[in-house]
Amino acid sequence: MTSTIAPVPHAPAHILARNVCVDFTVAGRVTRVLNDVSLSVPKGGFVSLIGPSGCGKSTLLKVLAGLLAPTSGDVSVAGVTPVEAVRQRRIGIVFQEATLLPWKNALDNVAMLMQVAHASRSGDEIRQRAADMLRLVGLERAAQKRPAQLSGGMRQRVSMARALALDPEVLMMDEPFGALDAITREEMSDFLLEIWERTKKTIVLVTHSIDEAAFLSGEVHVMAANPGRILEAMPIGLPYPRNEESYAAPEFARATSRLRRLLKEGHRQVRAA
C-alpha cells in the first residue's frame, strides 16, 4: 500500500533546508520572519506549504528558489545552492499573479524566458518548444491571444507553460491559483496533478487552501506565524493517482481535519502570545 504513496519516504532529498532563519529590517527594526525552518523534499515529491497569511510562506519559497538569501541556515537544491540551481535552470517559478507581458501573445510569453536562457537557440526552435508547452497546458488554440484576452485560469496556465518550458527539475509555485474562482481552482488542481504525474518534477506549492493541500500533496508542511516556523510536516496517506473520488476518501477527511486543527492551534498560539 505504501508503495503507491508519494513522496517515497526514504528517497534522497532533492530540496533540503536546515535551520533557516530570515530577518527583515524595516525602519531600523529587525523582525524575525522565519525561525529555524528545516524541511526536506524528495525527488519527484509534491509538497505544500500551508499557513495563515503573513506566516512567511512566500519568504520561505523565495529562499528555496534562490530569490532571497537566508539570514542564517543552509539550503540546497539538487545538491547545490539555490542560486546555483537557478543558474543551472533547475528551478521554475510560478507566482500568484500570472506576471505575463501584456503586449505579447501567449506564445511569446512562454518563449520570453527561453529567449534569454537559450540565447544561442534559433527563434524557430524556441517558438516550437513554446508551442509544445502551450499544448501541454491545453492552450494551443490561444497561442496568438494577448493576456487581456485570456481568463485568469488560462493566464495562470501560460505562466506554468513558461516555467515548464525551461524544463526545470523543481517547480516552485506561490499560491498560483489564489486569484481564481473555486471551480477553476479545482480544474487547475487536477491539471497540475496531471502535469506532475506526467513530468515527474519535484513540486513545492504554497497555498492557503486546506483542500488543495490535502488533495495534491504527498506531504504538507503546516506553518505558524510570529515568528514564521513549521509546526508539523504531515504526510497525506492518500494513494496516487488522485481524482474526484479522492475528495470522498476517508483518508482525505482525516487529513483535512487534522490540517484544520493544526492551523487553528497555530492561530491560538499567536493570540496567546
Binding site: A65, G66, L67, V86, R87, R89, I91, I93, F95, E97, T99, L101, P102, W103, M112, L113, V116, A117, R146, A148, L166
Partner: protein, 274 residues
C-alpha cells in the same frame, strides 16, 4: 480613425455590422459636444447682432469666418511657422524627456543626483526665460524650440520614468533568474512597459508645446500665429486675433489627435481611458 483601420482586418460580413456599430459609437461621442458648440456659436452671433457689439470688442462668428477666408494666406503662413516650432520643440522634448527618464532609471546613482535637480528646475517659471532665449538665440526658430523643450520635456520624463519603474518585481526576478542583464531587462520589460506612460506624457507635452510656441513668439518674433495675435491686437484688428486663435486651437487639436492616433494604433495593450 481607429474604425477604418480595424475594419480592414475583419472578414467582410462582420465588417458592415461592426462598422455601423462603431459609427454609432463615434456619433454618440461627438454629437453632444458638437451640438453644444453650434449652440454657443449661434447665441454668440445673435448677441453680437442684437446688441450691436463693436467689432473690436467681440467680433461675431460670421466676421471671424470672413477674416479667416480673407486672410487665409497670411494665416496659413503663420500657422506653418508656428507648427514648425511646435513640431521641432515637441520632438526634441520627447527625445530629451525620454532620455532623462532612461538615464535616471538605468543608472541609479546618477539618477539619484539628477532627479532632484530636474524637479527643482521644473519649479522655475520657464515662461520668464523666453526673453533670455530671444537674447541668446535670435528671433527665429531656435529660441521657441528651446523654450518649448524646457517647458515640455518634464511631463515626458516624469511619465516615462513612472512607466520604467512600475514593472512587476516578480517579472524582473524571473528574468534575473535566467541570467538577464540589466540592459536586457530594460529593453524587454521596462521600455515596453513604459510606452503607454510615455504617450500620456507626450499628450501633455504637445499641449505645452503649443503654449510654448505662442509665448515664445510673444517675446519676440517676425512670424507665426502668436506674433500675428500680438500684432493684430495692437492694431485693434480683433477679428484677426480671433481668426489666429481659431488656427492655434485647430493646430493644437491636430497635434493632440495625431498622438492619440499613434497610441491607439501601436500601443493597444492598455485599456484606453477616454
Amino acid at each position: 480613425m481607429t474604425a477604418t483601420d480595424n475594419v480592414t482586418r475583419v472578414p467582410a460580413n462582420v465588417d458592415r455590422a461592426a462598422a455601423n456599430a462603431r459609427m454609432r459609437e463615434v456619433l454618440a461621442r461627438f454629437m453632444p459636444p458638437f451640438v453644444l458648440l453650434v449652440g454657443v456659436i449661434v447665441v454668440w452671433e445673435a448677441v453680437s447682432r442684437i446688441f450691436k457689439v463693436p467689432e473690436f470688442v467681440l467680433p461675431a462668428p460670421s466676421t471671424i469666418v470672413a477674416v479667416l477666408i480673407a486672410h487665409q494666406r497670411d494665416l496659413g503662413y503663420a500657422a506653418f511657422v508656428t507648427a514648425r516650432e511646435v513640431l521641432w520643440g515637441f520632438v526634441l522634448s520627447g527625445i530629451i524627456g525620454a532620455a532623462v527618464a532612461l538615464v535616471i532609471a538605468r543608472f541609479a546613482t546618477f539618477g539619484r543626483a539628477l532627479y532632484p535637480l530636474v524637479v527643482l528646475f521644473q519649479n522655475v517659471p520657464k515662461v520668464a526665460l523666453a526673453p533670455l532665449f530671444i537674447l541668446w538665440f535670435g528671433f527665429d526658430l531656435a529660441p521657441k524650440v528651446v523654450l518649448i523643450v524646457v517647458i515640455a520635456f518634464f511631463p515626458v520624463a516624469i511619465n516615462m520614468l513612472v512607466g520604467l519603474q512600475t514593472v512587476d518585481s516578480n517579472l524582473v526576478a524571473l528574468m534575473r533568474s535566467v541570467g538577464a542583464s540589466r540592459n536586457v531587462i530594460l529593453w524587454r520589460i521596462q521600455i515596453p512597459n513604459s510606452l503607454p506612460y510615455l504617450m500620456a506624457g507626450l499628450k501633455v507635452a504637445v499641449t505645452l508645446a503649443v503654449i510654448g510656441a505662442i509665448v515664445g513668439e510673444f517675446a519676440g518674433a517676425q512670424a507665426g500665429l502668436g506674433y500675428m495675435i500680438q500684432f493684430a491686437s495692437t492694431q485693434m484688428q480683433t477679428a484677426l486675433v480671433f481668426a489666429a486663435l481659431v488656427e492655434v486651437s485647430v493646430l493644437g487639436m491636430l497635434f493632440y489627435y495625431a498622438i492619440e492616433w499613434i497610441e491607439r494604433r501601436y500601443i493597444d495593450w492598455m485599456p484606453h481611458t477616454a
